[in-house]
Structure formats: structure tokens, C-alpha cells
């Protein structure tokens, strides 16, 4: 039974890394949002499984937040926003998809090497979870760096945050996990509301981050 518990946790955390890779090669915004919803569902399952094997009922709240808020509310809200604000739907990437995928693989390898070496004292499950979580975090960072549209940067940030929640739930009995996941949800809601409130349409319309330089006040 112990083995099965471990295998399922391992499988779910591994799936999260896999879905992170799927996020990397999307070139349409709607598809990206769908894959992100999948990412959140996998996270919810993973957290729920951790709640079950650690016998930590409060983690079910985190799982429920992931399922309701991240897998349903946020993608739907962003979807509607893309329609309403008329944001361009293609995703512009910096560098090719192939290169990004290669970099992604390098980052996953790095995450494995670093965490497995540094965490010899911790339990096996926690170690593996941490390695996967770091991989998801790094892939999220990679996505934020290689995307030019603000919406896909936000999705990159949200996937990064899912990695953090995975790490936090994998750490046995970590206090404040629920609070932290709520804080992060507030943060994300904040971005989405911010987009609406400030109507950063131009920001989302111009795919060109180079436009930033123009507003620096440095060029005349």
C-alpha cells in the first residue's frame, strides 16, 4: 500500500511537469488557457492525493481552490477578457519552440540534479515531489521569459505558482499552506482584475516588449 501511495503521488507530480511542457509549445491563447486548466486539474488531484496520504484534511481546501478557482474561474475569466478586449490570439515567442523545449529539458535535468543532491536527508516522497516542483517552477519561469504577450506571461506565472503549491503540499505537515495558496489566489485575482481595472489593452495588444523602452523617458 505504501508503494502504491508513493507511485500515485509520483505519477501525479510527474504529470504536472508533463503538462508544463505542453504549455510551452502552445501557439494559440485559447489552447494555452485550456492546457492551463488541465495543469490546475492535475495540481488539484495531486494536492488531494497528498491530503489523503498525509491525512491532512486542510489540504483538501487547497485542492478545492485549485479546482474551482484555477481550473475554472480564471481560465473562463481570461477567455472572456481576450474576447472583450480584442487581444491578439497568436502567441509570439522569443526564440523557436524547439529551442524552448530543449531549454526546458535542460531545466528539468537541472532541477533533478540540484534537489536530489541537496535533499538526501528528507523522505523519498518529499524529495521527488520537490524535484518535480522545482522543475515546474523553472518551466514556468522559462515560459515567462520566452513569451511576449502579457496573457501568456500571466499563464506562465500561474503555472509557476502551481509548482510552488506542489512543493508546499509535498512538505509534510507544512503550516500555512492553505493560507499561502489563498494568498496566491488573491494575487492572481489581482492580476486579472488589474487587467480589467486598468484596461491595459494596449499592453496586451502590442506584442512588442521593446515598446517598454520607449516609455523609459530615456530617449528624449
Amino acid at each position: 500500500m505504501q508503494n502504491l501511495n508513493f507511485d500515485i503521488a509520483h505519477f501525479l507530480a510527474g504529470s504536472l511537469v508533463l503538462v508544463s511542457f505542453m504549455l510551452l509549445y502552445q501557439d494559440r491563447l485559447y489552447a494555452l488557457l485550456n492546457v492551463y486548466a488541465l495543469h490546475a486539474v492535475v495540481l488539484a488531484l495531486s494536492v488531494a492525493w497528498q491530503a489523503y496520504i498525509q491525512d491532512a484534511p486542510q489540504l483538501y481546501i487547497t485542492a478545492a481552490i485549485a479546482l474551482l478557482f484555477k481550473a475554472i474561474v480564471i481560465p473562463v475569466a481570461l477567455h472572456r477578457m481576450i474576447v472583450k478586449l480584442g487581444i491578439q490570439r497568436e502567441i509570439e515567442t522569443v526564440g523557436g519552440i524547439g529551442l524552448t523545449m530543449l531549454l526546458g529539458m535542460g531545466l528539468v535535468a537541472l532541477a533533478m540534479v540540484v534537489t536530489l543532491r541537496a535533499t538526501e536527508g528528507a523522505g523519498l516522497l518529499a524529495r521527488e515531489d520537490l524535484a518535480f516542483a522545482l522543475a515546474v517552477v523553472l518551466l514556468g519561469l522559462l515560459m515567462m521569459v520566452t513569451r511576449r504577450n502579457a496573457v501568456s506571461q500571466v499563464v506562465g506565472f500561474m503555472s509557476l505558482e502551481n509548482g510552488l503549491v506542489l512543493a508546499a503540499t509535498g512538505a509534510k505537515g507544512m503550516p500555512l499552506v492553505v493560507e499561502i495558496s489563498v494568498a496566491f489566489s488573491v494575487l492572481i485575482a489581482f492580476i486579472v482584475i488589474g487587467i480589467f481595472l486598468f484596461r491595459i489593452r494596449e499592453r496586451f495588444d502590442t506584442v512588442d516588449v521593446a515598446a517598454l523602452d520607449r516609455y523609459r523617458g530615456e530617449h528624449g
Binding site: G121, A122, A126, L164, G194, G217
Partner: protein, 480 residues
């Protein structure tokens, strides 16, 4: 928890934020803001005399954070006074709407709360949450003008700072995972005082990894190179009181968080020495900031880069360690906070008087507006580290500690400081002296905060009270 000063420190800003949000009209909110900030400062002052509560699971009061709570609530108070006249003018010129002004004041109190919470928390998780709260509130405040440039700056700040706090959270989780096998699961393994007490029995490899993440995460908020990119934009595009708060308070609070993490590692001989990492990042930030000062065309950006330079210097000093360097680092943190916010008070008045932030459109301020012109001159002299102003003392101590410990490092350090002095005076010459340029709007300014800050910096340079010195020395010893 009994009704000690700590309770008031949390309650006053929290209540004030709610009261401001509920108040009708925006005129009054500026005064409520200043009044609440004053009360918070009084509560902080009483920490100096009140009996310290025993460290609990959430709250810790010790020498280290008491001094910062007092400093930060003081600067928050003077900034809120400066802010009253500043925002009044902004409202007149229509740069902000009354509704946004109310939001601004409510957020100002929320920001104070998050600073106090970050400083007084004895729990690495709560500290992280507080710094996240500070980030969120400042993001909105930077974007409050809603101009294209302001929104760009807020967005950039938001994305970079979020990545920073995400990395810091990962580091926090790693600390917990390192502590969990030894201290058992649950809240105990996140309580800072317990962690430090039992640091020697924690897994060093894991703490090393944790520290790297914490350094990168909180380093983003400190504005260390190469994670500084948000800082100049956020400083330039937000309202000037917020610029003063960012430079004077937020950077310090983030550095405080990093120092707490460093103290955790200091107890373990087998763990990685945090010193060299901090020395390296600090020195690079110092040199980078100093060189970037030369070609700035925007006055707020100029002093934003100066903040990067000084935070680099402070990080360098703490990385060096030892009683003298730590003492100098603490002194420099306090004085930089006072000086830089004082400078930004002058800069805020200048940009309102001239109606622009472009250095090219300013000139001859000492003859047209003697008070703010000379205020700026004194501020720049202080920040450049000229005697007899206070920063000279701390910079001198840092340089002499470097000479004693790592003489070779003194070379780039002094070079960086000299480059910064040259750049600052070059720019100051254009702003404060020469032919008067540009319009000269009639603006009601609050001069008292600026005079108060610069006066304190001058006094600190001439005479440091013995009790203060003893206090700083005790904290420096604590820092190892």
C-alpha cells in the same frame, strides 16, 4: 496576546485603512493617513521602553527589529505628511481622481501594516506573506496615475516582483523541509527563533539551496543586480511619496528579511558561507548603479539608480560581516533610508514646480527656489558621502572594514563610490545651478519632512548618541 505596543502597531494601520476606505470624500483621507501614521510611529517608539514580549509562534521583538520598526514608521509618518500637500496639487492638476486618491491612502496604511508585519514576524511563512502584501500594494500605487508609462512600469514591477516572491517562497518551503525531520511537522518548524536555536542540527545542503532561492527572491525586492530591472521604472512612474517609500522602506524591509535568513545559516559551519555571495552581488550592484548614474535624463530615475548603488553597498557590508562592517551596514541602512526619502521629498517638489521630471528642463533651482534647491544640494552631498553628513561615517567604516579584512576588494569599492560621487555632482550641477530653465509653477510644498530628514542625517554625522551606538553594536553582534 496582551494589549502591548505590538498590538497597536498592527491595529492602527489596519483600522486606518478601513476607515479611509469608508470615509466620504478624499480631502480628509490625506489627514487621516498622516494622523494614523503618526500614531503608528508613537506605538513603535513605545517599543523602546515597553517590556518585550517573549518570542511567540508569530511575533518576535528584539533589538534588531525594534530599531527598524521605529525607523520605518518614522519615515512612513514624515512621508505621509509630505504626501498631504503633494497629492493635493496632483488632484488640482487632475493627474489623479478623488476615488483613486482614497485608494492610495488606504493602500498606504496597508503598506505600513505589511512592513510592520514583515519586521515583527517570528515566522518565515508570515514574513513571506507580509512581503507579498507589500509588493501587491506598491504595484497598485505605482500604477495609480494610469498613464501608459505608469501601467508599463507597474506591470514590469509586478511580473519581476512576483517571480522574486515566488522564488522566496520556494526557499521558505526548503527551509521548512530542512527543519521538519528535526523539529517535527507543524508550526514549530517555521518559527524563526526555534530555527536559529537548532540550526546546527539541520541538513546543511538543503539550507544552502534554500538560501540561494531566498537570496534571489528577496534580492529582487532589494534591487540587486541583475534583478533590479523593475526598480528604476517603478521609482520613476509612481507618485513621488511612493518613490520615497520604495527607496527608503521597501528595499530595507526586503534586506531585513534576507539578513534574517543569513543569520539562520551563520549558525552552521558546514553550510555555505552567505558572505561571498552577498559581497559579489553587492559589489556588482554598486558598480552598476554608479555607472548608470551618468546618463540619466529623468531625475527620479537618477536617484533610483543611486538606491541600487547604496543597497549594493549595504549588502556588501553585511556580506563582509564582523562587528565593524555590520555596524556600518546598519548605520548605512538607517541613514540611506532617511537621506533618500529626504531627497525624494525635494525631487517631488521640484517635479511639481517644473512640471516635468526631465533633468534637461531644469536648472538654476538654487536661485529660483532656494529652499528645495539647497535641500537637494545637501541631500545629494549626503548621499554622495561627503563629510560631515552621516553617510560619510558609515561609508568610511565600510571602507576601513574592507581594508582590514579583504584589502583587494577595497579597490573596486572605492572606485564605485568615487564614480557615483562624480556622476551625482555632474547631474546636480545641471539641476541646481546655472541658468534658471523651464516654468516655475506656484506649488504649496511641505518642507518640514525634508528639513527634518536632512537635519537628522547631519546630526548623525556630527554626533551619534552613545545609546544608539551601543544599540547598533548589540545588533551587529547578533548578525555575526
Amino acid at each position: 496576546m496582551s494589549l502591548g505596543p505590538v498590538t497597536f502597531l498592527f491595529l492602527i494601520p489596519a483600522l486606518a485603512a478601513v476607515v479611509i476606505a469608508l470615509l466620504p470624500g478624499s480631502k480628509l483621507s490625506a489627514y487621516v493617513n498622516a494622523g494614523a501614521s503618526f500614531l503608528t510611529f508613537l506605538a513603535a517608539l513605545s517599543l523602546l521602553w515597553a517590556e518585550r514580549p517573549a518570542p511567540g509562534a508569530y511575533v518576535l521583538v528584539d533589538e534588531f527589529n525594534t530599531i527598524f520598526v521605529v525607523l520605518i514608521t518614522f519615515v512612513a509618518f514624515t512621508t505621509s505628511v509630505f504626501s498631504t500637500t503633494y497629492v493635493e496639487y496632483e488632484l488640482e492638476t487632475g493627474r489623479v481622481t478623488p476615488a483613486f486618491l482614497k485608494l492610495y491612502h488606504a493602500l498606504y496604511q496597508a503598506l505600513t501594516l505589511s512592513f510592520v508585519l514583515a519586521l515583527l514576524s517570528n515566522n518565515i511563512g508570515v514574513m513571506w506573506v507580509a512581503i507579498e502584501l507589500a509588493t501587491l500594494t506598491t504595484v497598485v500605487m505605482v500604477g495609480i496615475y494610469r498613464t501608459h508609462a505608469a501601467i508599463e512600469a507597474a506591470w514590469k514591477y509586478f511580473i519581476l516582483a512576483s517571480v522574486g516572491i515566488a522564488l522566496a517562497l520556494f526557499g521558505t518551503i526548503l527551509v521548512y523541509m530542512a527543519a521538519e525531520p528535526v523539529m517535527g511537522s507543524g508550526l514549530n518548524a517555521m518559527v524563526w527563533t526555534d530555527l536559529v536555536a537548532r540550526a546546527a542540527s539541520l541538513e546543511p545542503a538543503m539550507l544552502n539551496l534554500a538560501f540561494v532561492f531566498l537570496l534571489l527572491g528577496y534580492g529582487t525586492k532589494i534591487g540587486l543586480f541583475p534583478l533590479h530591472a523593475w526598480l528604476p521604472d517603478a521609482h520613476a512612474e509612481g507618485p513621488t511619496p511612493i518613490t520615497a517609500v520604495l527607496s527608503g522602506l521597501l528595499l530595507n524591509v526586503a534586506l531585513y528579511a534576507l539578513l534574517r535568513c543569513k543569520m539562520l545559516l551563520a549558525g552552521i559551519p558546514e553550510a555555505l558561507a552567505p558572505g561571498p555571495l552577498m559581497i559579489g552581488m553587492g559589489l556588482v550592484s554598486l558598480l552598476f548603479g554608479a555607472f548608470m548614474l551618468y546618463r540619466r535624463r529623468d531625475i527620479k530615475r537618477l536617484f533610483a539608480y543611486s538606491s541600487i548603488e547604496h543597497m549594493g553597498l549595504i549588502t556588501f557590508a553585511f556580506g563582509l560581516g564582523g562587528p565593524i562592517a555590520n555596524f556600518a551596514g546598519l548605520l548605512h541602512m538607517a541613514l540611506h533610508s532617511l537621506t533618500k526619502s529626504g531627497i525624494f521629498f525635494a525631487v517631488g517638489d521640484i517635479s511639481q514646480v517644473k512640471g516635468t521630471q526631465k533633468i534637461a528642463d531644469m536648472g538654476g533651482l538654487t536661485s529660483t527656489n532656494p529652499l528645495i534647491g539647497w535641500g537637494l544640494v545637501i541631500g545629494v552631498a549626503a548621499i554622495a558621502g561627503l563629510p560631515p553628513l552621516g553617510i560619510f561615517t558609515s561609508e568610511f567604516l565600510i571602507v576601513s572594514a574592507t581594508l582590514a579584512k579583504q584589502p583587494l576588494l577595497a579597490l573596486p569599492l572605492v572606485l564605485g563610490l568615487l564614480i557615483a560621487i562624480g556622476a551625482l555632482f555632474l547631474q546636480l550641477n545641471r539641476i541646481a545651478f546655472g541658468e534658471p530653465k523651464g516654468p516655475n509653477h506656484k506649488v504649496k510644498c511641505s518642507y518640514v519632512p525634508m528639513i527634518l530628514h536632512l537635519g537628522l542625517v547631519l546630526i548623525a554625522g556630527v554626533y551619534l548618541p552613545a545609546t544608539l551606538v551601543a544599540w547598533f553594536q548589540a545588533v551587529a553582534k547578533l548578525l555575526g
